[in-house]
């Protein structure tokens, strides 16, 4: 009987450790059929691919490199590209984070350094092409990836960005269970996310525990870096927009960034706490529900970003 219980315990443990979810190729980004459109048509998303030989008027425009969040795709920044088309006063380069937008196995294998590499590649291509007015925008996990570039002194060897916009940055997760991922992750294998119908095929349904550990490592490291203090490159500004109610990125993340980052002159950065309950409130497409106030806020922030870039 004792042996039976040992086998039963082992079976339960192995079942609990099952790390292969059931993936529906036809509907899920996790599968082998659906991938991010930027992989097939980079010229629609990346300014370096759209204008491989830019003319003077293109080079003179501000370019915003927009980095999405963990488990998302370029879709997260589609609406600012649409906004930018209204007066074509600035260009938007939507980078797909490394390991993202592909199948589950690719996502599972990628580290946060891989996620960050796409931002670096596009930044260096634009720099090489001669763009001088480069701006960065990071939503959710895109934010700590950009903060890490500043902290590591990446811009000491490259042209400095004119400005950095962070939308709902994550330094602290709202769901504190993520802090236990090192312990619980190997047992659970992966977590499952409920997606709205308009989000299907744009976000991963399954989040491998390896990637959750990468996310936790990144944000924990960024928190410590912020505690030590980070200085922006000369003449760069930073503006943080944060939903005051956010069930993904704890709003206290904005305070940590506010305390941890100073401009090159030692001044405080700008932080605006928004009356929104949406995580990445600048992305409304694909959501089941949002209010008129959310649309107004999105357009207000896009307009402010535009004005800061063209002034």
């Amino acid at each position: 009987m004792k042996v039976f219980y040992i086998y039963l315990s082992l079976l339960i443990f192995l079942f609990a450790c099952n790390s292969t979810p059931e993936i529906d190729d036809a509907t899920m980004l996790d599968g082998k059929i659906i991938s991010d459109s930027s992989l097939i048509h980079p010229e629609k998303y990346l300014i370096s691919a759209k204008y491989p030989s830019p003319d003077a008027s293109q080079l003179n425009k501000p370019v915003l490199i927009a980095a999405h969040g963990y488990s998302a795709t370029t879709f997260e920044w589609d609406e600012i590209r649409t906004f930018s088309n209204t007066d074509a006063s600035f260009l938007v380069s939507q980078v797909l984070l490394g390991g993202h937008g592909r199948d589950y196995a690719d996502f599972k294998a990628a580290t946060w350094k891989d996620w960050q590499s796409s931002i670096i590649i596009e930044y260096e291509k634009l720099e090489k092409l001669g763009y001088k007015k480069i701006y960065l925008a990071g939503s959710s996990t895109g934010a700590p990836l950009i903060i890490n570039l500043v902290k590591e002194g990446y811009f000491n060897q490259h042209i400095a960005p004119k400005g950095i916009f962070l939308i709902d940055p994550i330094i602290v997760p709202a769901n504190k269970t993520l802090t236990l991922v090192g312990l619980l992750g190997p047992i659970l294998g992966y977590s499952t996310t409920e997606l709205a119908s308009g989000e299907k095929g744009k976000w991963y349904v399954y989040r491998p525990q390896e990637t959750l550990q990468q996310l936790m490592n990144l944000i924990d490291m960024t928190r410590k870096d912020l505690e030590d203090g980070i200085t922006l490159p000369q003449s760069s500004f930073m503006k943080v927009y944060k939903s005051s109610v956010d069930d993904v990125a704890d709003p206290i993340s904005a305070l940590m960034i506010y305390k941890g980052i100073k401009t090159a002159t030692g001044a405080k950065i700008e932080v605006e706490m928004e009356k929104s309950k949406l995580h990445v409130f600048t992305r409304l497409a694909g959501r089941d529900n949002y209010a008129l106030a959310d649309s107004i806020l999105q357009q207000k922030v896009f307009l402010e970003m535009r004005n800061k870039m063209i002034q």
Partner: protein, 181 residues
């Protein structure tokens, strides 16, 4: 109840314990330092008292009062958020008559996060604390003891109605000097 009231109430409890202990020879009273590391967050340091009585369950039940703050830990000379924990706890000691004891207990109290700038007034600053704890306690032959424990904050912060830096899991190490034993 505002923050100042809670602070005074806490200090009153702390010193009333001291006076009870001094009046009654059957009490053990330890005072000392406590250091706490929250998983994936701050070091917080502070003071703690531990009191037990022969007349209350043969010293198996211990009352603890602690004040811990990141002000004396991670927030010292850094940009970490300044936060304070006022904790009242009850422990049940196994092997209470031995030098090496095992304990388990429940803690409650008050948590305050100092967000410093009015921009963040919209965020929750305060919370009730409630945690479950288990650990080991060793009494030396001289009037000192050391305890190590792990605890889980049953109330932890989602940043919406409780402060976002109230994380779930933490470990503590305390060193006590017994004023009355």
């Amino acid at each position: 109840m505002n923050k100042t009231c809670i602070k005074y109430l806490f200090l009153l409890l702390l010193f009333s314990n001291l006076s009870i202990a001094q009046d009654n020879k059957s009490y053990d009273l330890g005072m000392g330092f406590r250091t706490q590391k929250t998983n994936k967050l701050y070091w917080e340091n502070g003071i703690s008292t531990d009191i037990s009585s022969q007349s209350i369950l043969n010293k198996k039940l211990h009352l603890k009062l602690s004040y811990l703050s990141s002000r004396f830990g991670s927030a010292l000379n850094s940009n970490a958020i300044k936060q304070d924990n006022y904790i009242v706890g009850l422990d049940w000691r196994f092997r209470a008559e031995k030098n090496f004891q095992i304990f388990t207990g429940l803690n409650s109290g008050y948590f305050h996060s100092d967000m410093e700038d009015p921009i963040f007034d919209v965020l929750p600053h305060n919370s009730l604390l409630f945690s479950a704890e288990a650990g080991a306690f060793y009494k030396f032959h001289f009037p000192m003891a050391i305890s190590c424990s792990a605890a889980y904050n049953i109330i932890n912060g989602n940043g919406i109605d409780t402060p976002g830096t109230l994380f779930p899991f933490y470990c503590q190490v305390s060193a006590f000097y017994f004023i009355r034993k």
